[in-house]
């Protein structure tokens, strides 16, 4: 009940191909926890130049050969590279979106920065919905994969590492029942 109340007041962002009478029911992206690996990696990479300066190498060839200007440029280039890597990872997480509306299932994928794929299918093409949750992290933070099997040649949908996959599955099944009883809204 609490969920239903929350959903009624929740404003989902508008997406590119959304029609005027289309209502977003589920708007999801991978769980925040899935970002942990690259956040830790970025912190470690950011600490490397400072760590190298703290450690005093005996006869360090770089200290002997590199000028101060070169070391400065190299350090700045390193920081720029690491920040850009973090930015790219964030973009890929933020714009990989899974949407279920009252009419369609939409999967927006950016496999890497320059490859975009948007797949969608109408709700009445959905045949089977399965969710999978495995491993300690997924159990602890309640996230997992949702597989949506569709009819015919329409590609199947895979929502990876979404929060509360069980709840999303319930919502989609309820929507399917509604569509089967009432028909797809115009």
């Amino acid at each position: 009940m609490a969920d239903a109340n929350l959903d009624s007041i929740k404003q989902f962002p508008h997406f590119e191909t959304q029609s005027a009478d289309e209502e977003v029911i589920v708007f999801s992206r991978a769980h925040l926890f899935t970002n942990l690996w690259w956040i830790v990696l970025v912190i470690i990479l950011l600490l490397i130049p400072s760590a190298l300066k703290l450690v005093e190498f005996k006869d360090n060839p770089f200290d002997l050969a590199l000028s101060a200007g070169s070391q400065f440029i190299l350090t700045l280039a390193w920081y720029l590279f690491v920040i850009s890597f973090a930015f790219q990872r964030f973009l890929l997480w933020f714009f990989n979106i899974y949407i279920i509306t009252n009419k369609r299932v939409v999967d927006i994928d950016f496999y890497h920065l320059f490859y975009k794929e948007i797949s969608s299918t109408t709700i009445n093409h959905v045949q089977d919905v399965t969710h999978r949750r495995g491993g300690v992290a997924q159990l602890l933070f309640d996230y997992g994969d949702l597989f949506i099997q569709t009819a015919g040649t329409t590609p199947n949908f895979e929502f990876h590492a979404i929060p509360k996959p069980g709840l999303v599955q319930k919502k989609l099944i309820a929507l399917l029942k509604g569509v089967k009883m009432m028909g797809l809204p115009d």
Partner: protein
Amino acid sequence: MSKEFDLLSLLPLTLIVNWFVVLFLAGYVFFSFLVIRQVAVMCSVVESGINVILKLLAQLLFLAGLLLLLIALAVTIF
């Protein structure tokens, strides 16, 4: 003059590293220019409150790369 063969003194390491950094930054600037365009495409897919910040950040990273490339070139050449 020392008779020891000192490889480091023969190898212009600073010059090699500097040119390597310049090449890397040139690639970075080109790539980040493409990222600016791609972020605009990404932002058009879904409306979000932070879209403006993301676009700005992409432009900032491009400018930072460009500035650093110019500095690296100056350090390398002069």
